[in-house]
Symmetry: C2
Subunit: 435 residues, 2 copies
């Protein structure tokens, strides 16, 4: 792992961080790292997530999924942290045959069921509490669809949930293979656990590599941001937020890392979006969004940090010879598609730099070890940012309000949240009856 912060320093960017300010911040990074290390050692809530790469037993996961053999198709039913980790890993590692239902949409679900080989699909249903409305509703639909297709859901389902709750009871009653969500770890920190690794195991992915990379990331943490890329990133984010760069554009320059950007956005937003602060993550994708968002990043408000995520190397795929003189530079025979997207990234960095817009580049390997390192390093960076801002990194109180309100609306049971919705008065413009 590597970070280049040159384009975020005060000599180059406005706002920017001076090396003096970084040195002062570094005095706080030491104690904050000790706090994180202590939380890890003592298995404290949240901090213990950094211990997963050490604790998670790949053989235990393989044994659990062994009855299914090598799966042709895996369907994850979960939402938020219960689905994003698995999608991020299978996308980044190029494992075809994994899809997640992480939303409630009657139309798309039915279309998905028509497309999938339901009799051969292994369903991985994930909910820490076992009570998540969207996940349970979707799972009920998946069960029905499988049985309708002539399959048997009780033979095609593996469950990852907590020690008790409706899902656990269902797993016990139907004797389903199951794993446990890691204790003391919020979903967004659980990717490197059965939550994210079961689909990988079902598809024959390199879960040992992911765990190895996670251990490398933890081993790479140190008491100074100047030796530790993850903490350097946290410090830059923290310092820029205090200098009114309150938006963080997460921009991977590899299509297969698009879901990684979503994962980072959840990690950051849910962990640090509290007490009236926290960088707003903006999900972007290189090179596509150069043609969509770059205008704003370069010429809009000076309230943004752009975080580039780049692979260390790319496979060699030549661009075929062209018969167009005007675009000869594309088809001179030895220009590769990798050269093209690397040039796009370099050009985008430079265009932001020329406009004095702060940006940093994080570089990782694309293999399983590299992805595992990336996920855990970014979790550690998030923890450090939380320590520097002194927020409760591992809670998400604001999410719960909406959950209680939705449940209240659907059920008879009244709740403070649901009742508060009743007195809502609309101010509507436009005629509903227009059509």
């Amino acid at each position: 792992m590597q970070i280049d912060i040159a384009n975020a320093l005060s000599g180059t960017a406005r706002p920017g961080v001076s090396e003096e300010a970084l040195a002062r911040l570094d005095e706080r990074v030491g104690p904050a790292h000790d706090r994180i290390a202590r939380g890890l050692a003592d298995r404290e809530f949240g901090y213990t997530a950094l211990g997963l790469p050490e604790r998670v037993d790949p053989d235990r996961i393989r044994e659990t999924v062994a009855p299914f053999g090598r799966a042709r198709q895996v369907l994850t039913v979960g939402i938020g942290g219960s689905a994003l980790g698995a999608t991020t890993l299978t996308d980044a590692l190029g494992l075809a045959g994994h899809v997640a239902i992480d939303n409630v949409d009657p139309v798309l679900s039915n279309r998905l069921f028509e497309r999938l080989p339901l009799q051969e699909t292994v369903v991985h249903v994930v909910s820490k509490s076992g009570t998540t409305a969207e996940t349970l509703a979707n799972f009920l639909c998946v069960r029905a669809a499988i049985d309708e297709a002539g399959g048997d859901w009780t033979e095609q389902t593996v469950v990852t949930t907590g020690q008790d709750g409706p899902l656990r009871e269902m797993a016990d009653r139907h004797d389903l293979p199951s794993c446990e969500t890691p204790a003391g770890v919020p979903g967004r920190f659980a990717a490197v656990s059965p939550v994210g690794l079961v689909p990988l195991a079902l598809l024959g992915g390199d879960i040992e590599g992911v765990l190895q990379g996670g251990r490398d990331a933890v081993a790479g943490l140190s008491g100074s941001l100047f030796d530790c890329p993850a903490y350097a990133y946290a410090a830059i984010c923290h310092a820029l937020e205090r200098r009114d760069a309150v938006t963080n554009v997460i921009m991977p320059y590899q299509e297969s890392w698009e879901s990684l950007g979503e994962w980072v956005a959840q990690l950051w937003a849910e962990s640090l979006g509290k007490d009236g602060g926290g960088l707003t993550p903006v999900r972007a994708l290189g090179a596509t969004d150069q043609h969509s968002q770059l205008q704003l990043y370069r010429a809009g408000r000076r309230d943004k940090l752009v975080t580039f995520l780049a692979p260390r190397d790319r496979p060699h795929v030549a661009i075929p010879e062209t018969d167009r003189e005007g675009v000869g530079y594309l088809g001179d025979g030895d220009t590769t598609m990798g050269d093209l997207i690397d040039a796009e990234l370099t050009a985008t960095e430079a265009s932001l730099r020329a406009a004095e817009r702060p940006n940093v580049r994080l570089t990782f390997d694309s293999d399983a070890v590299g992805i595992g390192e990336m996920l855990v390093a970014l979790q550690a960076a998030c923890m450090m940012a939380g320590e520097l801002r002194d927020v409760a990194t591992f809670t998400q109180p604001a999410v719960e309000w909406g959950k209680r309100a939705a449940r209240g609306l659907l059920s008879a049971e009244s709740s403070e949240e649901a009742d508060s919705i009743e007195d809502r008065a609309g101010y509507v413009i436009g005629d509903d009856a227009a059509r």
Copy 2:
């Protein structure tokens, strides 16, 4: 079309807009509407986009694609506005069989080629200038892949480009069916033209409906925001940006509208992200992102407007009976998946309202007419926001810098932009040779 602005008013939200402020803004909406109407009537650059639903001839598009019959698979090769409109329309209308290559990624492109029935795939290559590097490089790869698969790209390609340029010359030389990109219309305003409608026509979609909806949207424009939902939305966005709500979360509550969110984000960012201002669009998706971003939206910095996009009705899909008492409210037999996601939306609106976070709800029909109305109404809203802020809505100068730099890097030819990259000094933390 309908907008509910109750949750963005100053009595309810912080920041919020008072009705007095809206009345004052309305005095500027009248003249701004006259300006837009005059630009439309005189076919001025950009403004003329609102005339597309009237001018575009569906028969001309059908004749152009007639040689291909009803396509089983359509592959759009384009980037930014050249791809997003087509994806938005086919996704929203549930037309399976359309995919776009709108990025440069050697790995994913090759995986896509393996998956597609290349001999039966109709390729729609789109570039206004005909020189876009990513599009041309991808098209060269697609051509090679088709020929390798035993197809004949010259028999499977339809081109949409300007009156001249490399793509036009290629279309002429190989006698390919072709359409023209609309003159005087930036790509992000060209969805309701051959750029977005050709794939629809190939897949048997209702292009007349989309055009009808577009005409409805234009007919619905008026000189007062109090009679015109599109302008009301523009006024709310403008007023909130001036009150430091500088981020606009675009949150459709329908999975098939996810690409619509990306389309809106491009429209807004590229049109209004200039002169040091412009709302930063944040792409979100309901209900999924309640479990990812809502924590930040509700408890983070008070710098956000949340824009909900909701369908007027949803298909009736019952949630199967559940055997779990704990979640009985989901499976009481008559609760539908639509009830569930509607409850999630209502609960999320209420949770933001309870925290006094500004949010608005835009409601549209889900059919072709409704989607056409939505796209054109949002284009009109964007134009109005541009008038109210007095920016050059239809240019994107900051995008061009990166394009020239990338071309300079790939070719021998030196350019100011490419040369400026040479003197870049990195500040790297982390050991490249670590692994």
